[in-house]
């Protein structure tokens, strides 16, 4: 590392660390210094080893080689408790809450304020929780159970938990993936104030605007290796992307112009009491329609109802003119709908099954002969689509849980594209996906539309919405508040509609 040494040894450093999982070398000779009073970004493609690095620093994994230094002293973290004692607080990529415990207890587990006789002092704990939420500018009832919190709220509780440590080192692995703009701003404000008070912060995100707005230095990783560390001021997005991918990335939103055909999907008066109501829209073949809105607007719920995994109370869904039975995903699939869900770990993939079986799960019946499944046919079918999407996996029989997030997302896409749908619904298709893969996904979507597929895309990323969609539907509190053509849709018009302000720009 070529930067000049700081006067005091860094509070936390990783030295020449290596870590393998079976055949996968997740980390190889990676060194990283987190300095007091600095926000440090870590960038890299999916599977570059960022989360593994975080877990190594947090004591979840022990490095196979190399070691950790605390204040310059080599240290061994035998478990997360050791890291916590050394003042390291971590927000993991996947929320790690206890659904049955109250929000306050989730934040203070193992460190609950004690009263007389070492009993837990509940009122002190509640007060402390409220103070933390006030700092984050949110209000979540400290006494409610964590079960049922939206993903955004879960993430906020995680952040509050990390803050409560008053840690010397704060590590955030994609904390903003589920947050909306305002919450992100608040989080940044808090992170900056921590930095100004002398904490070392490590920030991981696939959103470059955030990285450049917040961080002082950027470290890039590729394929488990350390590539570079540079001050943010001396870098551009293109430069970072180039070192991440090892080559230049072509256009992020390769929108093709297509011929829009017949109406394929037609949704009328769709209502689910308390969640969304009177949702009307249609999608034509060859068209990409984006469903935009703030987190919690009910977009995922609408597409889940269309696909039939959730029921609905009123309204109709038609595909190619025929009405779909409510609440039956099999019927939706038969009619040619595919849904790539937003939560790939819970809804998209069977993590403990092989890549191959995940890829063919949607086509079990189509691939069977005389009611029996033959390995050969399965393997061929799986290979076709994983090859087309360039899934990086050691072997098709490897468990899908061993793939990186981005590659997992590709497997989900593969399993649905294999059904050759007429209507492809994608919910947050690029959440947590690196730039390279993101561009590929976008190219793929646009190519599919070009071939006449009707695409409905739920996305929280405005650039993606604006870059990809032929038409934008904006949802606010369970209703469609605006429908914008490609030319009408701008950041302003979409955000106005998303926040519920009536706009003259909304057209039928």
């Amino acid at each position: 590392m070529g930067t000049q040494p700081s006067p005091a040894p860094p509070p936390l450093a990783l030295v020449e660390a290596a870590k393998s999982f079976g055949m996968v070398k997740a980390l190889q000779g990676v060194s990283l210094e987190l300095r007091a009073g600095e926000i440090h970004a870590l960038c890299g493609e999916n599977g570059a080893g960022k989360s593994t690095l975080v877990k190594t620093i947090a004591g979840v994994h022990q490095p196979d080689e190399g070691h950790i230094e605390v204040d310059g002293q080599p240290t061994v973290f035998a478990g997360p408790a050791d890291a916590q004692r050394a003042g390291v607080a971590v927000i993991y990529q996947e929320p790690t809450l206890f659904p049955d415990l109250s929000v306050a207890e989730n934040i203070f587990i193992r460190r609950q304020p004690l009263g007389r006789g070492r009993r837990i002092d509940r009122s002190a704990m509640r007060a402390a929780t409220n103070r933390l939420f006030a700092r984050l500018g949110v209000h979540i009832d400290p006494d409610r159970p964590a079960r049922g919190l939206s993903i955004a709220d879960q993430q906020l509780v995680e952040i509050a938990k990390a803050l409560s440590f008053d840690a010397r080192v704060l590590i955030m692995d994609e904390p903003t993936a589920a947050l909306s703009g305002i919450e992100v701003e608040r989080l940044f404000a808090v992170a900056r104030s921590l930095r100004d008070n002398g904490a070392a912060v490590l920030f991981i995100s696939h959103r470059f605007d955030e990285v450049f707005a917040l961080c002082d230095r950027i470290t890039v990783m590729r394929d488990g290796r350390y590539i570079s560390t540079e001050p943010t001021a001396e870098l551009t997005v293109d430069a970072v992307v180039r070192s991440m991918v090892g080559r230049d990335v072509t256009a992020l939103f390769p929108k093709q112009e297509t011929d829009v055909g017949e109406v394929v999907l037609d949704v009328a008066g769709l209502t689910r009491t308390g969640v969304f109501s009177d949702v009307n829209f249609s999608v034509r073949s060859g068209e990409i329609v984006a469903l935009a809105g703030l987190v919690g607007a009910g977009r995922s719920e609408v597409v889940r109802a269309i696909f039939g995994v959730d029921g609905y109370d009123a309204g109709t869904v038609r595909v190619g003119g025929t009405k779909l039975t409510a609440g039956r995903p099999a019927a939706a699939m038969a009619a040619g709908i595919a849904l790539v869900p937003e939560d790939r770990r819970q809804q998209g993939l069977v993590m403990e099954m092989s890549v191959e079986r995940n890829a063919t799960l949607t086509r079990r019946w189509a691939l069977s002969r005389f009611g029996l499944l033959w390995r050969r046919a399965e393997e061929r079918a799986a290979r076709t689509w994983t090859d087309r999407l360039q899934v990086k996996a050691g072997h098709l029989s490897d468990l899908v849980s061993t793939l990186s997030g981005g590659n997992q997302q590709k497997v989900v896409l593969a399993k649905w594209l294999a059904t050759e749908p007429h209507v492809l619904i994608v919910d947050e298709p690029t959440r947590g996906i690196d730039v390279g893969t993101k561009a590929e996904v976008h190219r793929l979507l646009s190519e599919l539309a070009g071939q006449g597929m009707a695409v409905l895309m739920v996305s929280s990323e405005l650039p993606e919405v604006l870059g990809m969609a032929d038409r934008v539907l904006v949802m606010h509190e369970g209703r469609i508040s605006a429908e914008l053509s490609r030319s009408q849709a701008t950041e302003e018009t979409v955000m106005y509609a998303a926040t519920g302000q009536e706009q003259e720009g909304s057209a039928a």
Binding site: G22, M23, L373
Partner: protein, 349 residues
């Protein structure tokens, strides 16, 4: 439903605990878990044949098969149920209730030709009750079937009370245990083999079987893939009830005695055999050959030890140890492997 009783250990410790190796997943699975059970079975059969007087005879083989018949029958659908992450503890009570109803109907003068189909239908209904409570109402199957275990056994007593009905015609009772002509293998053995084949093909080579594993691993993602998790589970419970009542009919004829307390406590033996056969209690893994191996292994060891005049206390200890060792050994082996090589199984220290 997620599997209800899980260890606090990471999921990786319980799901396939070995790191995925190169090569065919199926083959490595056979080499590891089912293979070792079947290996243990072969070894114990050979050892018993050499060292235990009277083990290696056709007559004894017949006894052995009759001994494990009910367990083997119920273990087949139970395997599928456990693979989907559920469990059915009411099977022995279903068996008992079927037996009681069979006795009562016989006392009332119905011919057995009518009684048998009625009893099979009853089993399907009892299974459906479990299934509806689990899938439609959404209750955990462990709790539901503890409840119906008490309920069905109680109903059996309500139906038949403390009586025993034992005057079934010999043509039926004798027929139930009669051997296939020219051999000493009872007919029931052939029936079990046939059913095992059917269930095996269903589980391992059909789209339905594939979705059972998927459900056991992640029911939500499976539902998102267009599988009707509810219907699948519902039918599995119906199948389990049906087979349990078949076992009840067989049991009644085998012992020539319809009683409310027939097969009391059998559910734990069935679950033990299935788990010994390498099915994970959390669902998602396991194979039918392994389960058959597990059933036969338990039966063989008990049969051989009895012939060797080992007392029933020891039998009980051996059964328990076998179960514990069968789950502990692979885990310890994996740990030792990971200690030797720096590359450990995922997610564990």
């Amino acid at each position: 439903m997620v599997p209800e009783v899980t260890t606090p250990a990471d999921s990786t410790a319980t799901a396939p605990s070995e790191p995925p190796r190169r090569g065919r997943a199926l083959r490595s699975m056979l080499v590891s878990r089912e293979g070792s059970i079947i290996g243990a079975l072969v070894v114990s059969i050979l050892a018993a044949a050499v060292f235990v007087d009277g083990f290696a005879s056709g007559r004894n083989a017949g006894f052995l098969i009759l001994d494990i018949a009910a367990i083997a029958l119920i273990a087949l659908p139970m395997t599928l149920v456990i693979i989907t992450g559920e469990i059915d503890l009411s099977v022995a009570s279903t068996l008992g209730l079927t037996s009681a109803v069979m006795g009562q109907l016989w006392v009332m003068g119905l011919p057995l030709e009518t009684i048998v189909p009625l009893c099979v239908a009853l089993g399907a209904v009892l299974g459906a009750v479990n299934g509806v409570l689990v899938t439609v109402v959404g209750l955990p199957s462990l709790a539901v079937t503890i409840g119906t275990m008490a309920l069905y056994r109680g109903l059996a007593y309500v139906v038949l009370g403390d009586r025993a009905v034992a005057d079934f015609p010999f043509s039926w009772t004798g027929g139930a245990t009669a051997p296939v002509p020219g051999t000493s293998i009872p007919w029931i053995g052939v029936l079990i083999l046939g059913l095992a084949l059917a269930f095996g093909v269903l589980l391992h080579a059909t789209p339905l079987g594939r979705s059972l594993y998927a459900i056991g691993n992640n029911a939500e993602a499976t539902r998102f893939s267009g599988v009707s998790v509810r219907w699948t589970k519902l039918w599995l419970f119906v199948a389990t009830g049906t087979v349990a009542s078949l076992a009840g009919i067989f049991w009644t004829l085998q012992y020539g005695s319809a009683r409310a307390d027939n097969a009391f406590g059998l559910e734990l033996s069935v679950v033990a055999a299935v788990l010994l056969g390498g099915v994970s209690i959390f669902g998602g893994t396991g194979a039918l050959p392994g389960v058959l191996g597990g059933v036969l292994l338990l039966g063989t060891i008990r049969n051989a030890l009895r012939l060797a005049d080992v007392s029933s206390d020891t039998l009980s200890i051996v059964t328990g140890m076998l179960l514990v060792v069968s789950v502990v050994a692979p885990n310890l082996a994996a740990r030792l492997r990971s200690r030797r090589k720096p590359t450990g199984p995922p997610g564990r220290r």
